[in-house]
Amino acid sequence: QQQVKQSPQSLIVQKGGISIINCAYENTAFDYFPWYQQFPGKGPALLIAIRPDVSEKKEGRFTISFNKSAKQFSLHIMDSQPGDSATYFCAARGTTSYGKLTFGQGTILTVHP
């Protein structure tokens, strides 16, 4: 059972554009929603995260929007740069499973110069 659905699978954006990746979840017991960035040959690294008590969190060019009622959250990358080209994963953690992150299937982002 896939509990976190991510779209699109791939995304091509021009430099300076906005990249938007969406995720939807099913488990209402999730209480922590991180986004990870992964470059080829590397492990994922935490990019930004949000808890369900806020609707938006911004860090530099990266923003998470969170809609608790719709059980959806999204990552927005403003002024996308070629260096942002990577695979992005959304994830969620349940209140009763401190260790387990449930990941989306990933989005391959390509930013053209």
Partner: protein
């Protein structure tokens, strides 16, 4: 400081052989996780260790998979009688403690079963 390290970086094995994958977490981190990343897929949780508590093995796909963590530090993931569907990148992560949110990932071990 040193991050999470994993060895080997690549492993090619024949179907039916056993393999061991190693993870060295960040020093002082009490929580350790194993995930599997298949081609084109997200990360799949396998197992979680926290201090001296019993591990959460709920993600292990079959009894051919096992893991241990010695001395609260290094962990070994063992896959017995490997199958072609076991081919994937196996990722290890650690975090400072239970409830700590950020998990720090190693570079992974790419396992290929011929």
């Amino acid at each position: 400081g040193a991050g999470v390290s994993q060895s080997p970086s690549n492993k090619v094995t024949e179907k039916g052989k056993d393999v061991e994958l190693r993870c060295d977490p960040i020093s002082g981190h009490t929580a350790l996780y194993w995930y599997r990343q298949s081609l084109g897929q997200g990360l799949e949780f396998l197992i979680y260790f926290q201090g001296n508590s019993a591990p959460d093995k709920s993600g292990l796909p079959s009894d051919r998979f096992s893991a241990e963590r010695t001395g609260g530090s290094v962990s070994t993931l063992t896959i017995q009688r490997t199958q072609q569907e076991d081919s994937a990148v196996y990722l290890c992560a650690s975090s400072p403690g239970q409830g700590e949110t950020e998990q720090f990932f190693g570079p992974g071990t790419r396992l290929t079963v011929l």
